[in-house]
């Protein structure tokens, strides 16, 4: 086994995993840099959770290999497990126990010394903002609070890598924000995070690099900006004008500004990488022609568009 470059903490090499005739993971390779948040973005059934289960050693790959901190899960599973914290998609906690009792149990499984564990529990409860509720049974918590304890339970042994499987599913916007803050703080502390989600907003906000998954494959990878530029994704500037649309279209096209009139929306649509620059270009022309603008709309390009362009389908079912 060749050692990984020092900057790489985790590497997956052409992983394959099938369940009967379904190829859940079909030749996925990825490298995660030390201290980064890497996002696996894709619709339900894309293979994100299977990837995470393979990395967490819960599943064994049919083919391919995983190297984490130069260790192989097949050769040193216990050591690998000690390096990782896993936040499962389900709230995998005991509802009848208090948050503190839950954390003590899960931390104890990683052989954290009792004194250190007590400190770690205090620290993580503070991190997730639930210290005041620590002795209440978990069944009295809201969904968002349970999610935060679900994250806390994975942090008690100070893992080097945190695997998070859709940690905000079913969470209200306020709690979701709280979860994001926790993740950002963990990253500031130097933790490497592998984050799976089908919410492109989350991937855009949190992840430095994103692997877009579909049908068990990573179909694109890079930073948000890289992905947008790689697939020539442009923003859309929409204008409603009090003039003959055909005239304006030919006027702008003659000036080298591509645009088209969308009859259903009764608006002129101009694809552009830079909305502000395009507006500055167009407004003087229209003003000179005494064409008034009754409405301006902008539609910013996002990963949803990247995914749409790559697969012809949306990230989430509408």
């Amino acid at each position: 086994m060749n050692p990984l470059p020092p900057s790489i903490i985790l590497q997956a090499q052409t992983l394959h995993k099938s369940f009967d005739s379904i190829h859940a993971v079909n030749g996925v390779s990825l490298s995660i840099k030390r201290g980064e948040i890497y996002g696996l973005l894709g619709p339900n059934g894309a293979g994100k959770s299977t990837m995470l289960h393979l990395i967490s050693t819960l599943l064994q790959p049919d083919k391919g290999k995983i190297i984490i901190e130069n260790l192989s899960p097949t050769k040193a599973p216990a050591a690998i497990k000690m390096l990782m914290g896993v936040v499962p998609q389900e709230i995998a906690l005991y509802e009848d126990l208090s948050a503190r009792e839950n954390l003590a149990f899960w931390g104890g499984l990683y052989r954290v010394q009792p004194d250190l564990l007590r400190q770690q529990i205090d620290k993580t409860l503070e991190l997730v903002g639930l210290k005041e509720r620590q002795n209440d049974p978990l069944r009295t918590y809201s969904g968002g609070m349970k999610r935060r304890i679900n994250i806390a339970a994975a942090l008690l042994h100070n893992p080097k890598i945190l695997l998070m499987d859709e940690p905000t599913v079913g969470v209200d916007p306020q709690s979701r924000n709280h979860v994001f803050e926790v993740i950002e703080q963990l990253q500031r502390q130097g933790m490497t995070i592998l984050y799976t989600t089908h919410y492109m907003e989350e991937a855009e906000r949190l992840c430095e690099r994103i692997g877009i998954m579909d049908n068990g494959r990573i179909i694109a990878e890079g930073t948000v900006e890289e992905l947008k530029s790689q697939f020539a994704i442009e923003n859309i500037l929409s204008l409603q004008l009090n003039a003959k649309q055909e005239y304006v279209v030919s006027l702008l096209n003659d000036l080298g500004i591509g645009c088209k009139y969308i009859t259903e929306k009764k608006s002129l649509q101009i694809p552009t990488r830079d909305i502000r620059h395009t507006l500055c270009q167009i407004l003087p022309i229209l003003s000179k022609q005494e064409i008034a603008i009754s409405r301006i709309d902008t539609q910013t390009a996002d990963l949803e568009h990247v995914f749409l362009q790559l697969t012809g389908k949306r990230l989430r079912d509408q």
Partner: protein
């Protein structure tokens, strides 16, 4: 809408083949069991013979004729034995009763002296003895009266009325003699001796109730604990446990340990209660009782874990546990005392944990056997516990590796 919802439930049910089998097979099995236990299936079924040890110390032609007559009866199966072996067999609960024909018995009959045959029996199996007595006394009196009564009358007449004319003497001898007719009167002709449970006769029903109920209830609670393993799978905590740095079999061991611990505590509480509330003599058998509790708890805990290992859903485990517990309790003596069951059921009973547990507690509190004598029963429970745990670990490991 109701039809739509009903259709969904029906579809889910039909997809669970194990549940279908359990739902429909359970009542059939139970009905068959109870029907057989309480009188045999079908009108044509024959009555199984009751075993009777015969100790022939008399060794006369009359004694041999009586034994032959008993052996030829379809309701009795004669087992010849010497007295010490007969006594030990009844003490250990292997046989119900022994008929002892003492030396000089037939001579006493001829001379009119009193030397009644003795029946030694296990008082815990009084019902079986009661079923045996009508046949035994019937054969006994028909045998001895045909041979001994004319002789006795002749001797009596010759001794007391030597001058009686021959024709009158013959008519007296040929007059049919009516043997004692009431069961009580017949039984009085035997010396009845209970060799088991004499010192604790008031505890017979109590031991049955405590041991039988305790084991059945323990099976139910252990089954519920065993299914907590499946609950872990359903709630996702199992995956989280599997991602922690230890072997997956430890999860099963920990469940086994917890179930065993609870089972031991539950049995201890039940027997302490029986001691304090109803006077079961636990302090005199402290070591035996504790060891029997431990091995019974082990065997029953392994059953709970086995259930979890073979079931893939909690619903399956619950149906399966109900089925197995009811069957084991019915055939093992928790619901119906074993002594009223037909012999075939007694043979089937050895397949149930209940049987070994209940008999073990009988050995301690009823038969007053020493720890050494109880060890074989304890060993059986230990073997059941160890083998079922081993099998459960194999099944669980296989399931976990298939998941991966």
């Amino acid at each position: 809408m109701i039809f739509h919802l009903f259709r969904k439930d029906l579809l889910l049910f039909l997809k669970d083949k194990k549940s279908i089998v359990l739902t429909f097979l359970l009542p059939i099995i139970l009905i068959s069991l109870f029907a057989y236990a309480f009188g045999g299936l079908g009108a044509k079924s024959s009555v199984s013979p009751l075993d009777l040890i015969v100790v022939d110390q008399d060794r006369t032609p009359l004694a041999k004729e009586l034994i032959r007559a008993l052996d030829s009866n379809a309701n009795v199966q004669v087992i010849p034995m010497h007295l010490p072996a007969a006594r030990a067999s009844i003490l250990r609960g292997k046989n119900t009763a022994a008929l002892i024909l003492p030396k000089g018995w037939s001579q006493a009959l001829e001379t009119g002296d009193t030397l009644p045959p003795e029946i030694i029996y296990d008082q815990a199996r009084k019902a079986e003895v009661s079923m045996l007595m009508p046949t035994l006394t019937g054969i006994y009196f028909s045998t001895i009266s045909r041979i001994t009564i004319p002789k006795s009358i002749t001797l009596f007449l010759d001794k007391n009325y030597p001058n009686l004319p021959a024709d009158i003497k013959n008519s007296i001898i040929q007059t049919p003699i009516i043997p004692p007719s009431s069961p009580q009167e017949k039984s009085n002709q035997f010396k009845m001796t209970s060799v088991v449970g004499v010192a604790h006769s008031s505890h017979l029903g109590l031991i049955q109730a405590i041991a039988g109920t305790a084991i059945m209830m323990l099976l139910f609670s252990v089954a519920a604990l065993g299914t907590s393993l499946l609950e872990e799978e359903e709630k996702g905590t199992m995956n989280r446990l599997l991602m922690a740095p230890f072997s997956s079999t430890l999860i099963l061991y920990s469940k086994m340990l917890f179930t065993f611990f609870i089972a031991v505590i539950q049995l201890i509480i039940m027997f302490v209660f029986a001691w304090l509330a109803v006077g079961l003599d636990v302090p005199s058998h402290l070591v035996s009782t504790f060891l029997m509790i431990v091995v019974t708890a082990l065997a029953i805990s392994s059953f709970g874990i086995f259930l979890a290992a073979v079931s893939s859903t909690r619903q399956q485990a619950q149906s399966l546990s109900t089925l197995i517990i009811l069957i084991m309790s019915a055939v093992g003596g928790s619901m119906i005392p074993l002594f009223i069951m037909p012999p075939i059921m007694k043979k089937i009973a050895i397949c149930s944990v209940n049987y070994w547990g209940i008999q073990g507690f009988y050995d301690i509190f009823w038969r007053n056997l020493s720890l050494w004598d109880i060890l074989p029963r304890m060993s059986v429970l230990l073997i059941i516990g160890i083998s079922m745990t081993t099998l459960s670990i194999f099944l669980f490991t296989r399931r976990m590796s298939r998941r991966r």
